[in-house]
Structures are given as C-alpha cells and as structure tokens.
C-alpha cells in the first residue's frame, strides 16, 4: 500500500489514530463553545442574584432559585403574550400549509406552460428584503383599519412565501410522476391527487416547513413591533424586549424569561428533529 507524502515514517494505523484524536478534539471543542452560552442562559436563570456578579463564574447554581420562573409570571402578563404569540405562529403555519404544497404541485407535476415562468419569479421575490415593502404595506393595512390586529401578521402566509414554496418544490419535484399519472388515468381530480397522494408523501418537508414557519412567527420582532401597539396584543418578542429595557441588570430574571421563551421551541425541535433535519436537507441549490 502506498502512502502519501509527508507521513512516511508514521504507520497508517498511528496516522489514523491521530486523525481520530483530532476529529474528537475539535468536536469536543466546538461542542463546548456552542453549548456553553446555552448552558449559561439556563443556569443564570436560576442563580442567586448575588452570585451573578461574582468575579469567578459560578458553574452550578447554588442555591437554585426555581421561584424565578413564577416571579416572571408576576413581572409580566406572560399568559397574554403566549396566547398572542401562538396566534401569530400557528395561523401562518396553517396558511403556508394550504398554499405552499398546492403551488409547488402546480409548478412541478401539472404540465402547463406558465410554471416555467413562475418559478424564477418566485426565486426573484425571495431576494426582496421585506423592508422594501414595509412602508406601503403599513399604509394599506392602516387604511383598512387593521393596525393593532393580527391580520397583517397572519394573512400574507395564506398566499405562500417564496422560501417555503421553494423548499416544497424541491421535494415535490422528486416524487415519482408515475404514481400521479396513474391516479389521473384512474380519473382522480387534481385536488384529490394533491390531498390524498402528494400531502402524505411530503411528510418530511411538510414537518420542516411547519417547524420553520412556527419558529419564524414565534421569533418575529419586526412585524409585531410595527402592527401591534396595544400591550394586550403584545407577543413574547415585544414583551421580552420591553422587559429588557425595564429590568436592566436583573440578569437572572432576564435569563429566566429568555429560557422560558426558548423552551417550547426546544421541545418542538426535539419532537420533530428527525424529519426536520431530513427536510432541510432537500435544499441543495437554486436549481
């Protein structure tokens, strides 16, 4: 067996060992760097206020102040925020779920002339930052009297967003034509093919899109900042941002709030992890 260049003195076995060591070393190092801030958030959340500003970092909170979690509920109307956040996170999920598969199906599996012109247009709109349209849209919603409602934050999702249409299309494109054509020959209508054949086959990508849309609704700050003015309509993002400016330096409580804001997403991520990561992987290029 021929060996390459420099490592002629080292036996292949030893070289493999060194390589392995390097891989594990780097994996461990990066894991530390990526996990530590997360760990820091969760532990600061239950730390004693006096220990937070200690000169040497306290790695294990002692005493643990679990009551910080209930304290947060006293400090801000968390239930209202959660309810509102769920509205602006769940309704768009439903919207995208109705729109994106239908559009993707039409673009890939229905043989009609328009599809090849529409897909490039969809990709092009993906490039338009939403700041470009934000002033006129605000003015329109305001003329319609819909400022301070959830409509501007939810309704657009029902018309499909380019990124999700794109993800969906990449997946639907790979589905076997034969199954769909067979269904057509059997006389099934396109709606029936879409809902009884395509949807079930798209489970991984549908899960991915649902999680992504939910996360983006849950995360969104810019939208609620523009459209929700009444504090009874605030979402967690704004609530937390407000709390940050009112509770400066109370890092334990700020981290408690951040942790609580994060927990639901972590739970969802772990539940959907397998399909979610599989679904994102359908993205490989702009083709």
């Amino acid at each position: 067996m021929e060996d390459t260049g420099k490592s002629e003195f080292i036996s292949p076995k030893l070289r493999k060992g060194i390589q392995k060591f390097f891989v594990y070393f780097l994996l461990a190092l990066f894991s530390f760097l990526f996990f530590v801030p997360f760990y820091w958030m969760v532990t600061t959340a239950i730390k004693d206020p006096n220990k937070i500003f200690a000169s040497t970092p306290q790695w294990i909170p002692n005493p643990a102040h679990w009551e910080n979690f209930s304290e947060i509920f006293r400090r801000m109307p968390l239930f209202t925020y959660i309810k509102n956040t769920l509205v602006v996170a769940v309704l768009p999920v439903i919207g995208q779920m109705l729109a994106a598969p239908m559009i993707a199906y039409s673009l890939t599996k229905i043989p009609w002339k328009g599809s090849k012109y529409i897909f490039p247009l969809i990709l092009a709109t993906m490039m338009v930052p939403w700041q470009v349209t934000q002033v006129p849209l605000y003015s329109t919603w305001s003329k319609l009297g819909l400022i301070n409602t959830f409509v501007p934050l939810c309704l657009p999702a029902f018309f499909g967003a380019p990124y999700y249409i794109y993800l969906m299309r990449q997946f639907v494109k790979g589905l076997p034509d034969s199954v769909i054509e067979a269904a057509r020959i059997d006389g099934a209508g396109e709606f029936r093919i879409l809902y009884t054949l395509v949807y079930p086959m798209c489970k991984p990508v549908i899960t991915t899109i649902m999680v992504l849309v939910f996360i983006s609704g849950w995360n969104d700050l810019n939208g609620p900042l523009l459209y929700l003015q009444d504090s009874a309509k605030y979402t967690l993002s704004i609530g937390l941002q407000m709390f940050l400016t009112s509770a400066r330096q109370e890092w334990d409580l700020l981290m408690t709030a951040s942790t609580m804001f994060t927990i639901p997403l972590v739970v969802i991520f772990f539940l959907a992890q397998k399909q979610f990561i599989g679904g994102i992987s359908t993205t490989s290029g702009l083709k």
Binding site: F53, L98, I110, P129, L221, S237, M255, L265, G285, L286
Partner: protein, 317 residues
C-alpha cells in the same frame, strides 16, 4: 419535444387540446394564491414605495408630491452613509465567516466518529433559541465586567474589550452571536457533503491526493450549488439585518430616539429605515430608502448569481 413546440409557435395560435386546456386552468388555479400574493404584497407595495419616495407622507395625511427632495436629503445625510457602511461591514465580514464556520462544522460532522448525532444536535441547538432571547443572552455573555466571555478570556490572561460599548467591537459582538447561530447553514452543507459519491474520494486517494487537496479538488466543486444557495440566503439575511441589532442598540442607548448603538455603530440600513418611517413617521423618506435598498439588492443579487453561475458546477449532478 422542442421541435413540436417550435412548430406550434410557427403556426401561430393553434388551439390547445382539451387536455392542455384543462391542465392550464388547474395549474393556474393552483398557483393563483401566489399570483395574488405577488401582486398584493410585492408588486403593489414596490410601486407605491416608488410613488411615496417622491412625496412627503406620514400615513395620516394624503401624500404631498415633493419631487426628488427625499433622495437629495438622503444623499446629503451622513447617517444614511453610516447605515450603508455598517450593513456592508457585517455582510463582508459576517457572510464569509458564517460560511467558513458552518462548512467546517459540517465537514467535521461528516467524518467517521461516534456520537455524531449528539454533536449535530449540540451545534444546531443555538439556532432554536429565539433571536430576541439570543440577543439578550449575548448581552449578558458579552457584558464587559461580569460576562462569561471576558471571564474566560481573563483566565487565558487576555483582557477582553468592552464588547457592547466600544464602537469598534459592537458589530463584532453581533457577528459572534450570528456565528453561534449558524446551525441551519451547517445542516444544509452537511446534507450536500453526504451526497458526494465516496467513489470520487477513493479514486483521488489512489492518485495520492491528501485530505486538503481532496477537499479543494473534489468536495468544494461538488457542493458548489449549495455554497451558492447559502451565500445568496446569507446575503438576503444581511440586507434585512434587524432584530439582533434592534435589541443590542436599544440597550446601549436607552434615552435616545435614534437607537443606533454607541456612536451609531449599530445603525444598520433596515434599522435606520424603520426609525425614519415609524419613529418619525417620515414615510416618504423611508420609501426613498426602500427604493434605494431595492435597487442595491437587485444589482448585488444579479452579480452574485452571475459570478457564482460561472463557478458553480452543476455538471456533477
């Protein structure tokens, strides 16, 4: 196929067959949500923004035509240039940094080792933390006196900078956080790496190519479509850089209405646009900014696609 299509167009508007007509109608029906959305949420607002950009407008009163006034004011305004410069800074530094880190992590996860799924989850976890929560967490981690980072740095004998108040470091602070949240890009890279046929590597190894050479001669060309995709997505992300900066800036300078952070070092384009439009209700001015942003985005993405198209290797698929 091609021939018949050409013949058809030569003969002019020949009638479509019944089947074609049916497919055309149903196809159009299925994309109609997008078409409606495209007209209402893209075309119409972009056209209105163009109109508003030539007016004085504050939502409550009708727009008043002022010609090029907004644009002239913009081009005379230092803050406008500052915001462009800040946005350019994070794009030029953050984009390559993010791509390199996420590709390195993906490469690491593509090695043969045990427990890779656990590591993958660990690397991805930060992406799951909401942006506002991440920003708050990093305000804490980067706290100059009590923050974790400077604490750890002092263990190494390094005196960490004032990440959040020194204008030379504020943008870097944001980028540290962004790199921490690179999981999404990493996963996309990882799936592309997994798709490279092992036979290619084996062949190269027999030819005596070392790991570095293999990476540059085989891996990079093979995953170039994915690099292009992640680059474009990253570019889009930086054009609309808002939430992180908004949270960071709102803390560093609470009292001021223009929250641009220390010495406006965090005044990004979208932040400035937001303030002009929605804090001062100078909607005409903000619209002029929107139109300029639109033009910049069009030019940049045109070139990004053009340049990368030449280098992207689609043949390998």
């Amino acid at each position: 196929m091609n021939l018949t299509a050409r013949e058809k167009s030569k003969k002019g508007k020949q009638k479509m067959s019944r089947m074609e007509k049916r497919f055309f109608r149903i196809g159009l029906l299925f994309v109609s949500p997008w078409i409606i959305g495209f007209l209402c949420f893209q075309i119409f607002p972009i056209c209105s923004a163009l109109y508003y950009s030539f007016t004085d407008y504050n939502v409550f009163q009708p727009a008043k035509w002022v010609g090029l006034k907004n644009y002239i004011q913009l081009f005379k305004n230092d803050l406008f240039y500052k915001s462009l410069q800040n946005t350019l800074y994070v794009t030029v530094i953050g984009l390559p940094l993010g791509l390199v880190v996420s590709l390195s992590l993906a490469t690491l996860l593509n090695q043969q080792a045990k427990g890779l799924r656990v590591f993958r989850t660990l690397f991805y976890l930060p992406t799951v933390v909401p942006v506002v929560a991440s920003a708050m967490l990093f305000l804490w981690v980067l706290n100059p006196e009590y923050g974790l980072l400077n604490n750890l740095l002092s263990l190494l004998g390094i005196k960490g900078p004032s990440w959040l108040s020194d204008p030379n470091y504020t943008k870097l602070s944001l980028l540290i956080m962004d790199v921490w949240r690179c999981g999404q890009t990493m996963i996309i890279f990882l799936s592309a790496l997994k798709a490279v046929p092992p036979s290619l590597y084996e062949a190269a190894q027999l030819d005596g190519a070392g790991p570095v050479k293999r990476f540059f001669k085989i891996t990079l060309p093979y995953i170039s479509p994915t690099i292009q995709f992640n680059m474009i997505m990253g570019l889009i992300g930086y054009f609309q850089y808002f939430t992180q900066a908004f949270v960071f800036a709102s803390v560093s300078q609470q009292q001021q209405t223009i929250t641009g952070g220390p010495k406006n070092s965090l005044l990004f384009y979208s932040l400035y646009l937001y303030q002009q439009g929605f804090s001062y209700l100078k909607m005409g001015y903000a619209s002029a900014m929107a139109i300029i942003l639109f033009v910049i985005v069009m030019i940049v993405s045109f070139f990004a696609l053009r340049i990368s198209e030449k280098r992207v290797n689609y043949d390998v698929e």
